[in-house]
Symmetry: D2
Subunit: 355 residues, 4 copies
């Protein structure tokens, strides 16, 4: 099940240490201007940027294999390919059949009876290259539809971003923490402290989108349900919430309900606990979703684990350089997934009225 979407449909393929990672985007409307550079721009956002990330260099170059002719989409499948670099796969041989705690080695083995032990194989974060590439196509389409997506790292460990405005959000990618600029330094310090101790940190990401009212299909294709699935499907994500989210457990209805009002002759609500979605359909208010990213599973400290083939307890020490906090690098992946879901729903809405 490596495809997502109903009409705007994305399929990804590729293992971390196989020849390539890629995607096929099927159902993108024809005549959309699209270039290799549109995709490359998004791939750049995903690359490690500083000492808070892995020291591995990923020189991902997108190749556009199909679906575009003379700078415009044809309506046919858009295939995008990114080669994996030559990698020293033998580095991983010592870990073969040794479950890295927090990783999917063991569960893949249980699912398929075999697995690619080199860097996580298909479960590697590297697979998100394909999602970001597909998301670039979705974003291009959405920009034609007037939909805009923003996001930022809201917290890392004990450091949270506080107040911000539109201008702050536009500058998120200018700092390595992918956060509201004024909080970047404090977050970075938090990450580096953990890193020095051979440890890692979790964090929270918030996405905000301006989308028209009326997107989302009851009852099993609700906008928030589809987005939950899309975000929870990103490695390391353990929770998703919309609007006031888990905090509404302690609210009362009179406080949680957003009163409707008319402002500038448009219908809206005076608060936004709903996060822009009611009954699974967008209300036209800002769409707000948050999700939690667990601390990076690969840490420098020695950990207890097992050899799951020989059923024997072991210890493991994962060397190399890893992202001490993965949240900044997940942001562009999450934006991509949100874009893919929204593109699908924009198209689906066209089918719900008489011509």
């Amino acid at each position: 099940m490596n495809s997502v979407g109903r009409v705007f449909r994305v399929t990804t393929f590729g293992e971390s240490h196989g020849p390539a990672i890629g995607c096929v985007v099927d159902g993108c409307p024809a005549s959309l201007p699209l270039t290799k550079e549109d995709i490359q721009i998004e791939l750049e956002k995903r690359k490690p940027v500083s000492e808070v990330s892995t020291a591995r260099r990923e020189q991902d170059r997108a190749e556009l294999l199909s679906g575009v002719f003379e700078g415009k989409t044809l309506g046919t499948p858009i295939a995008i390919l990114v080669r994996n670099k030559e990698t020293r796969s033998q580095d991983y041989d010592a870990f073969r059949n040794i479950a890295r705690p927090g990783h999917a080695d063991y569960t893949y083995f249980e699912r398929y009876g075999l697995y690619d032990h080199r860097g996580g194989g298909r479960s590697s974060g590297r697979e998100t290259v394909a999602r970001v590439a597909a998301g670039a196509v979705a974003k291009r389409f959405l920009s034609h539809e007037g939909v805009k997506i923003r996001g930022y790292v809201k917290s890392v460990g004990s450091v949270s971003a506080g107040e911000f405005d539109e201008i702050d959000l536009a500058k998120v990618y200018e700092n390595d923490m992918r956060t509201v600029p004024k909080y970047a330094d404090a977050m970075r310090d938090e990450v580096l402290k953990a890193k020095k101790e051979g440890d890692s940190l979790g964090g929270i990401i918030e996405l905000i989108a301006r989308i028209p009212a009326g997107l989302g299909s009851p009852v099993f294709g609700k906008l928030d349900a589809d987005i939950s699935s899309a975000l929870m499907g990103i490695g390391s994500v353990k929770g998703v919430e919309f609007g006031s989210g888990f905090s509404c457990a302690k609210m009362r209805g009179s406080e949680s309900n957003d009163p409707f009002e008319i402002r500038d002759q448009k219908i809206g609500t005076s608060s936004n606990n709903a996060g822009g979605v009611l009954g699974g359909i967008s209300s036209g208010m800002p769409f707000v979703v948050r999700f939690v990213v667990k601390p990076t599973s690969s840490i420098g400290k020695r950990q207890k684990t097992v050899d799951f083939v020989r059923k024997k307890e072991e210890t493991i020490e994962i060397k190399g350089r890893h992202d001490a906090c993965i949240a900044p690098r997940i942001l562009p992946v999450a934006e991509a997934m949100l874009a893919i879901v929204l593109a699908d729903h924009v198209l689906l809405k066209r089918c719900s009225h008489l011509g």
Copy 2:
């Protein structure tokens, strides 16, 4: 998009005040013993039980229309029908085009250009009758596969359930709060207090399942992703988390990673922050998911809103008796949705190996 599942596939239909609610379950394996009573038992769990719920009497009788012959499933679609009672639909005429805060009236109107204003139409909680019926079939199949689902209301407003054991969980449906028995009274008091003030409360529900390792399909059919979608697709749910969930944002990797161990010759982990799922595939550890239910949107207090056709501000006072806290009634719906997703993944796993 009123269908869910890939191989075990459920479609629901019906509006709150239309003639009937129902479902079609396609892909249930043949030869499964199934009776009307199996379905009725689950429908009973969904009914309002006490003064904490609506005073409406719902005498839902399941009718089994197809797919079962001589007490066993045929492998053909199982259609289940529940008639709606005669209802005084004119009671709702005053609310026509008036958006009830927290409800989906306005968003459905934006989506489709018209809507059934009687009690929420398709967005009504009544639609969940169909999900519970379909879930009854899924549960029946899962019991053959050794999968067991439990759940309870974990908190309501400021009252939380604390410690509990297996026996407590087995008794959840014996109290009207659908919670660990010893916390039921405190929760009920909390609800009745809100109710007396014409207000409502939110809450948190936890589901726990014993499932084998190896369920879940990377990368867009992950078990936790599918379950997020299934739970978020229930009305009033605003957030979902697995295992340590949002609390892992403040953890370190050395704390969050669950060390693997071997106990009784079986592979497991000594902690369960993952909630039984790694890389979207079940690990064999207890599967733990929580979700938040917002305070019931229908409250007795007068609220500000708009007439969305005439684009005019209005106030609304929703009479009648409503669930002051919907969490207890959502529990069986959530169990049903979890069962539907698990049934699908149990079948999908059969396709992942050579014969």
Copy 3:
């Protein structure tokens, strides 16, 4: 797999001798005028009409359970139910586990390990009641889109319909053979002759549709591919062809190619060997598809067969009255299936351009 369609999606359920047959139509655009009568009109076309058909009386009354409010579709699933009459199921007990030649008893048993032996269960022609009901919704939508479907029985045994015009086609349902009126008598004679001998006849049906150019999705959702599947999925159908069909095996390219021309400032072709579809996409020329219906499997003559549980050879004599030629009754089913496929493609086309 009891659903068909991508955006306009139909699910059917029900066994011949179970409580009911029905369908759920999901994805029909909102605001379409639709009544119970629209459905009943189509169901009437499917009923046996004269001595050429079975003597069984089928008083199928459609019940509209959801998706319509105040005479218009809501955009939500449209469920339609038709009750089966009380039937003397014990009539079939003698045939239990005895494979009726030409029927699906044995293959269902191989597929599922059990089957409903009463009148074919799910494999009964009675299931087509649900398809016709769903097709009625599709036709209603298509009439709004300017798409029109006609069809007629082209041959029965050795009798073929020859020349006809538009007016003839409009009168097909006025005769029991569902054919061009002037050939009805000869066809009926052919059928009655076979019937008197306890035997049955096959036939060929042709459907003709006026559809706009540009419907059909390459490469696995081609219009003709989808229609082939839809028609071949009707019981008794053993072949499908478009335009010149099998006869083009003996043509040359210079003869088979339809030259493009401009007439009345519209693009068309001067011949129509393609049957209105090129590369799986409609060309705007008349859409022409034919399919063959095998002779009715239930015949009065004694036949050799087996008891597939006891693995023992047997003979069988199928009593009761059956359609000596099923072609006339399949016509409305085929129209329904064509309508369902076309409705889906009309909606899909909306997704292929920028907004």
Copy 4:
């Protein structure tokens, strides 16, 4: 809609003169031995072989990008890439917006509002490289399941293959006509005669498969319905029939019904008019399907046509060398599509019983 299959799911991409053609095979069971050579062997069968085919040299080399590790499938998506050679695309500029009769130029333009005019773009026969590659994976899986597919060109123009045996079928790929060896010369003469006249021929292909009883999913996933769709979705195919096919229109039921019998303690039928499928489910008898391939649309003769952008009548003369009869080259494509459908149904059957 560039994907086919439910559990064994194939997506193809690529235009004739774009950078590459490829496919993603999702859902292939894990642990299946698979190499690049397995795919290359099938691609070789698709290449032009002699003067009956185009003189273009296609040096298609398959690249295996993912899903295989240490010679075995991982259960993850298998991506296969075939580069297009450098082609002189400007050769096609003269034909821009000129509809080649029998081709899909105009209909693609109507569908998408633009098209890739170079050699048919996505509608080119070249896209079948991807299907053959995917089919190679399916065949590999089927061979593990004991399913075997054979096929041959049954007729070309007025020349038909007559009697044959198992040994003949095994040698089909040894001659350029892909037919029963003893008829190859007569067929070749027929083709070369048409070719000399600047014309082309159609033909009929028959596929025969040994498959177990019980494959196929009623009512919209019937085996024959799925196969019809798969074969009709190949360019140039205008008709499909199973078993006695269109000839059963003139049969009587007593002749058309295949009597069941027991031979060697196995259930079978003494004739095989059904072609191995009853009620959409395989019976265990040889599976027999035929389809017609229209004469190649690209012919040397001057043809009447239109410029569909300027809406002006034109004439066209298609130079270059084309297959005078495409049937021999379609055979491996048809085998591939049949294999893909069968692989899907083999897996689906696993889901129809209790574990």
